[in-house]
């Protein structure tokens, strides 16, 4: 069966520090991968998605970037964190070219001090 792992579960970082959040998927090949930010009362905002290795599409301009160095690995990064980057970040995957739903990881709670 397929599983999705995100780490760390929680992270506290100072303003201006770098960021690296990792997401890996097991049990499937060539998945579509997604990074979302969830804010209370604002739902899920899609930040990035990827349909293949090295292919990244950005949905909104921001201080973050994403990379997909391997088929089932998706990384969310920043060179210098801002206070506004605080939030709950979710990774998800889906089967491309299908009607299958997206499956979500447990999320990372990021607090910027």
């Amino acid at each position: 069966s397929q599983t999705i792992h995100q780490w760390p579960a929680t992270l506290v970082q100072p303003v201006g520090s770098p960021l690296s959040l990792e997401c890996t998927v097991e049990g499937t090949s060539n998945p579509n991968l997604y990074w979302y930010r969830q804010a209370a009362g604002r739902g899920l905002q899609l930040l990035f998605y990827s349909v293949g290795i090295g292919q990244i599409s950005s949905e909104v301009p921001q201080n973050l970037s994403a990379s997909r160095p391997q088929d089932r690995q998706f990384i969310l990064s920043s060179k210098k964190l801002l206070l506004s980057d605080s939030g709950f970040y979710l990774c998800a995957w889906s089967v491309p070219y299908s009607n299958q739903p997206q499956h979500f990881g447990d999320g990372t709670r990021l607090s910027i001090l």
Binding site: L44, Y49, V95, G107
Partner: protein, 115 residues
């Protein structure tokens, strides 16, 4: 771009009461529709989905949703809620190409069921 509206962000009701959460989307073409649920401390999980066929779909835990194409709606219902239904509920609609399966989410409904 697709947009999804969910009203009444906070819903408080008693056990055995009926629940209906509204969801409206903007794009009038072919869409796939989903309701996700997030229980306290847990990850987001699929409650039910609609792709085609019978517009009344049944999901887990006694939930159902009705797709009304003319109203661009996909409302979620449960006839009699339980305390364990306390959660946040998100409506989602496909918004991208078939290949990338992008979803547009509503802002969610925080539902609290009082025992």
């Amino acid at each position: 771009a697709q947009s999804v509206s969910q009203h009444n962000h906070h819903v408080i009701l008693s056990e055995a009461a009926s629940l209906e959460l509204g969801c409206n989307y903007s794009y009038g073409g072919t869409v796939n529709l989903f309701w996700y649920v997030q229980y306290p401390g847990q990850h987001l999980q699929l409650l039910l989905k609609y792709f085609s066929g019978d517009p009344l779909v049944k999901g887990i835990k006694g939930f159902e949703a009705e797709f009304i194409k003319s109203k661009f709606s996909f409302n979620l219902r449960k006839p009699s809620v339980q305390w364990s239904d306390t959660a946040e509920y998100f409506c989602a609609v496909t918004s991208g190409d078939y290949g990338n399966n992008r979803l547009a989410f509503g802002k969610g409904n925080q539902v609290v069921v009082i025992p």
